[in-house]
Every structure is written in C-alpha cells, then in structure tokens.
C-alpha cells in the first residue's frame, strides 16, 4: 500500500477535522489572535507528531489529544494578568442567522467559564466523541468520563439557565 506523504496527510487531517479543531481551540483562547497562534502551533505539532502515529487510536483521538495538550500549555504559560477579551467566533454570521450565532456565542461563553477539567470533557462530548475516545484523549478511565461528564453537563445547564 502506498504511503501517504506527510504534507498530504497533514492537509487531510486539517480539512477533515478542521471545524472541530477550530471549535475546541476556541475553548482555550480569549481572542482571535490567540486562536490563530494556537492553530499554527497545532499544525506544527501535528507535523512533528504524525510520523510517530501508528494508528493505535483513531486519527480524531490523536488530533484532539494534541489540541488538548497544546491548549493546557497555552493556558499555563499565558500571563494571568491579561484580561479576557472577545470570545472568538470561527463562524460567519450572515443576516437571518443572528439568533443562531447569539446562541452559539452564549454556549461558547458558558463552556469557557467552566473549570478546565469540565470544559475539556464537555467540548469533546459536544464534538460527539464517545466516552472511550474522551478517556483516551484526556488520559482518564471511561468510568471517570461518565462521572465528570454528568457534573459538567449539570454545571453547563446551570450556567445557561442564568440570565445572560
């Protein structure tokens, strides 16, 4: 079987998983500039990690694991005194979709206000990852995923129930 060249493979991953990657990266950053920087870091990290990927997990799990590692690093090294700025919205908001956009921004805002462990788990669940995939990405047990996800969903429900 022909080996897929590295640049073709990276491009395919970015195209296939791009929208999900963009949303999850949004959960770790405070503005569009940070989003752009983290995306570029991710592309580089994938480029470096891909040759070592042996398919022990799905490509999506592999990608999200790198996204989460970079996201945690990003939060750790960020200056704590920097105030949060706008919530980056990776989607356009054409006329007639204003309500939908508003809902999505509200949800993203609520997700971003969750503590990091809950935020990570809820973002992966919103990306339709199975409990097993979430466990692999975050390095926790499947049982632990169930417990944490229930708490995270409840916390999110309460946040969204509050007046905006």
């Amino acid at each position: 079987m022909a080996v897929e060249p590295l640049d073709t493979r990276l491009k395919r991953l970015l195209v296939e998983h791009g929208p999900g990657i963009g949303r999850v990266v949004s959960g770790y950053v405070r503005n569009a500039a940070e989003h752009q920087d983290l995306m570029q870091e991710l592309a580089l990290a994938l480029w470096r990690a891909l040759p070592g990927f042996r398919g022990e997990c799905s490509e999506r799990t592999f990608v999200f694991r790198i996204v989460h590692n970079l996201g945690v690093n990003h939060i750790t090294r960020r200056k704590p005194t920097e105030p949060p700025t706008e919530v980056p919205d990776p989607s356009p908001s054409p006329e007639g979709r204003a309500h939908q956009t508003q809902q999505r921004l509200r949800l993203m805002g609520a997700v971003k206000s969750l503590p990091l462990p809950q935020r990570q788990i809820i973002m992966l669940a919103l990306e339709d990852c199975s409990h097993a995939e979430i466990a692999e990405v975050l390095g926790i047990t499947v049982n632990n995923v169930g417990v944490r996800l229930n708490r995270a969903r409840e916390a999110l429900r309460q946040l969204l129930g509050e007046k905006p």
């Binding site: 640049d7 990276l10 491009k11 970015l14 195209v15 791009g18 929208p19 990657i21 963009g22 949303r23 995306m39 570029q40 991710l42 592309a43 580089l44 994938l46 480029w47 470096r48 990776p90 989607s91 356009p92 908001s93 979709r97 939908q100 956009t101 809902q103 999505r104 949800l107 919103l126 990306e127 339709d128 969903r153 999110l156 429900r157 969204l160």
Partner: protein, 45 residues
Amino acid sequence: MTQDSEWTDLLQQWKGGQAAELPVDTLLAGAVSYTHLTLPTNREV
C-alpha cells in the same frame, strides 16, 4: 424539555452555522517551512 432534548439542542448550537474555512494551506506552509528551518543538518547530527 427533557435533559436529552436539551443536550441535542446544545449539540446543534455548538456545531450550528457554517464554520469558517480554516486557512489550511497557510497552516500547512507554516508548519513545513518552520520544520525545514529547524531540522538539524547532518553535521549537527
């Protein structure tokens, strides 16, 4: 509204709308050029 339908709504909101296209070629070019710049030469290895 049940918790399940609430969750389904959230899933739709999360993924809702048309996602902006990622600048895939720019990201790819950035990764490739950076790697080429930083790859050690034979002499360094």
